[in-house]
């Protein structure tokens, strides 16, 4: 395994990563971006993993040592006709029961357009889902009971949504807590609420933005040309441009406690970066911490497995396992 660490890394504690035991999957991961979800439940000493195989998704639960506790497969409800299912489905967190479904409106799609939903994130008591048209559906989730309601459809994008990221609001009024990205590379920064407000638009440059993250007022975006860019969320100013990968980026993740950013791409590499705000210049600085090569694997999903960023997991196209790495 080829690993590259930057010389003079200020934090030797997370210099090297070692492979942990992989988690086997019933079906290999599909070549979709952001194809790994990790839900950490430290209170219950559990970690949930989700991977999409094709028309089905796998949910697995694991205890910290990597011992599997439960595995479940969710199948997308198939429509009877030729068109693919145009349904958004929501389940209990262990996948046991479908609690809600919503049919996507394909009304004004031309026959050559693919109709699908892509990109999902939770913001407070809202769940936002992106669609092929660029519209973002906002579902209001009640604290108790199944009365999920489609509360809003956000306009802002003209091309298919690729990813949505949210961050818990910092307590102030005007703070951005959601960012949406699309196939043209356009980013929209929002403030959530009973009515979502569009705060900033960050234009693309002809390249899709498959993955996006938000951290303390900084938007981190990964692009199809292998670049990672960091912008000021409130103004859209570009602060950092990293020539990070040699192929399209497929996933970004954040370890919010320590400001670590993880980028993974089809070039088989996963890189970890340290973000910091320099107090004098009020700008963002980035330092490379670690690079990991996953040999002969076109990575399609990657996530940190704990809030301090000391472990991460990776999925790859055609790979029927989740690879895990933790720092030594």
């Amino acid at each position: 395994m080829v690993a590259a660490d930057s010389e003079g890394s200020k934090d030797p504690g997370v210099r090297m990563f070692r492979r942990e035991r992989s988690i086997p999957l019933r079906g290999s991961a599909a070549a979709l971006c952001n194809n790994l979800s990790v839900l950490q439940l430290p209170v219950r000493n559990l970690t949930h993993f989700g991977v999409v195989h094709g028309p089905s998704a796998q949910l697995l639960s694991f205890a910290p040592e990597g011992l599997p506790l439960a595995q479940r497969q969710l199948h997308a409800k198939e429509g009877a006709g030729v068109s693919p299912p145009l349904i958004t489905q929501m389940f209990e967190s262990d996948g046991s029961i479908m609690v809600y479904w919503h049919a996507l409106d394909s009304g004004d799609a031309s026959p050559v357009q693919a109709v699908f939903a892509r990109g999902i994130a939770a913001s407070g008591h809202f769940i936002c889902v992106g669609t092929w048209s660029g519209r973002v559906l906002v579902f209001d989730i009640p604290a108790k009971g199944p009365n999920i309601v489609l509360s809003e459809e956000l306009a802002g994008h003209q091309t298919p949504i690729t990813d949505i990221a949210t961050e818990r609001a910092q307590g102030q009024d005007c703070v951005a807590d959601m960012v949406t990205a699309d196939d043209s590379g356009l980013l929209c920064v929002w403030r959530s609420g009973p009515e979502f407000k569009l705060l900033t638009r960050i234009p693309g440059f002809g390249v899709p933005c498959p993955s996006v993250q938000l951290w303390q007022g900084t938007v981190a975006a990964g692009y199809g040309n292998g670049q990672v860019r960091l912008y000021e969320a409130s103004t859209g100013t570009l602060h950092v441009q990293i020539n990070a990968h040699a192929r399209a980026i497929c996933a970004l993740d954040l370890a919010p406690e320590v400001g670590k950013l993880l980028s993974a791409a089809e070039d088989t590499f996963v890189h970890i970066w340290k973000l910091s705000r320099s107090p004098e210049s009020v700008s963002i600085e980035v330092e490379h911490c670690h690079g990991e090569c996953v040999p002969d694997t076109q990575v399609c999903g990657a996530r940190f497995c704990d809030p301090s960023g000391s472990s991460f997991a990776v999925t790859g196209y055609d790979l029927a396992e989740i690879l895990r790495f933790s720092s030594m």
């Binding site: 290999s28 043209s184 199809g224 602060h239 040699a246 192929r247 600085e285 196209y317």
Partner: protein
């Protein structure tokens, strides 16, 4: 997923098929005029205008089984005869080769260059026939019209659709193993060196800007790979240097086309899922096949004895052995769906059949409930 993937899938797989058939014709020392006739017949069937029209209609990809039926028909549009084992091997080689090409495309848009490489080579194979050359050029035109204006995001979706189609295919091809393009477990080698895609910077640089947009700091980092800048972009014109080598002919008379069957797929779950898939899709597949094959003008050889058998293996014994030892999970069950009492569908099929010119003896009347394949065999 993308509804514009089928033309690219079909043309590239067809191109690979022609490379392999061309190699086998030469390896079996088939006389030049017969070999040329085989290739001309297949190419002219492939690029037939009506067939292309059906192909280019926006539609989802169907199963590997359905597609295999189309190639079966295509190969037999010529005077060659392939038995099951050879047809299986041919399809294996075609699919593995194109999967590799899709995976290795530096940019998603490069799959179009791969397609053009195949078309360029096809034109080389049939260069003595101006009428067929014209058909290929027309298809080139159509490709440019449909795909020339697509965005990078749309190409990314096409790429993902193709990769999902080829998911879990790990058949090992001996040329690939020898060239170290494939590992012994069937997975492709993904190099971390060489030129970056056109439009991508060589990784290793962090640039930081202040709020006025001025660059204030530049830091290098060790990426771990060994990349260099892309020399130039491939041409999307009718004629031009494609730059990319993917999709060019890697077979020659001296390089045998073997495959290894053992341990091909560890993941049986996904395979069984396809074979026990619920029936709703079967009906759509039937309609798709009827439409597509309905557009295919297959000519019967005027002299049945002009047909000859082509073998994808080195010897007859090897071919027999391959048929006996092919693992269950890799068998391509040719579509064999009993036409049901569905009035409408039978009428639709009958209408399509009626559009065919049958030049030899009149076919037996096909009553409702006949095996679909039996009906198509009479074409």
């Amino acid at each position: 997923m993308s509804v514009r993937t089928l033309p690219l899938l079909f043309l590239n797989l067809g191109g690979e098929m022609l490379y392999i058939l061309d190699q086998r014709l030469r390896a079996q020392n088939v006389p030049g005029d017969k070999a040329r006739k085989v290739l001309n017949d297949i190419v002219s069937t492939m690029f037939n205008r009506k067939f292309m029209e059906e192909l280019f209609k926006p539609q989802e990809l169907y199963s590997k089984k359905a597609l295999r039926t189309v190639y079966d028909r295509l190969a037999h549009a010529s005077i060659i005869r392939l038995n099951q084992a050879s047809m299986d091997k041919l399809y294996d080689l075609m699919t593995v080769a194109f999967k590799y090409q899709v995976l290795m495309c530096p940019r998603p848009k490069d799959v179009l260059l791969v397609t053009f490489n195949h078309l360029d080579a096809i034109k080389g194979l049939i260069r003595d026939s101006p009428a067929i050359l014209n058909q290929v050029d027309e298809t080139f035109q159509q490709l440019t019209e449909v795909y020339g204006g697509l965005s990078a995001g749309e190409f990314q979706l096409i790429r993902q659709t193709l990769l999902i189609f080829f998911q879990d295919l790990h058949i090992r091809v001996s040329i690939f193993l020898k060239d170290r393009v494939q590992n012994s477990n069937g997975r492709f080698v993904l190099p971390v060196s060489g030129p970056v895609p056109w439009g991508t910077e060589v990784p290793g640089l962090i640039r930081m800007f202040n709020s006025k947009g001025e660059e204030v700091k530049t830091v290098e980092f060790k990426h771990g790979g060994n990349y260099v800048a892309a020399p130039k972009e491939g041409s999307f014109e009718l004629y031009g240097d494609r730059v990319l080598k993917l999709g060019t002919n890697m077979y020659s008379v001296n390089r045998p086309v073997e495959t290894h069957m053992s341990g091909a797929s560890k993941n049986l779950a996904s395979q069984t899922q396809e074979s026990i898939a619920p029936n709703p899709l079967a009906k759509e597949e039937l309609n798709f096949l009827a439409r597509l094959l309905g557009g295919m003008e297959t000519k019967k050889p005027s002299d049945p004895e002009a047909g000859f058998r082509l073998n994808l293996f080195a010897t007859e014994e090897e071919e027999e052995q391959a048929a006996l030892t092919r693992p269950e999970e890799l068998s391509y069950e040719v579509i064999n769906i009993q036409a049901t009492q569905d009035q409408q569908r039978s009428e639709e099929l009958a209408r399509i059949m009626g559009e065919f010119e049958i030049t030899d003896a009149p076919r037996q009347s096909a009553s409702k409930g006949d095996d679909l394949l039996a009906m198509m065999d009479e074409l």
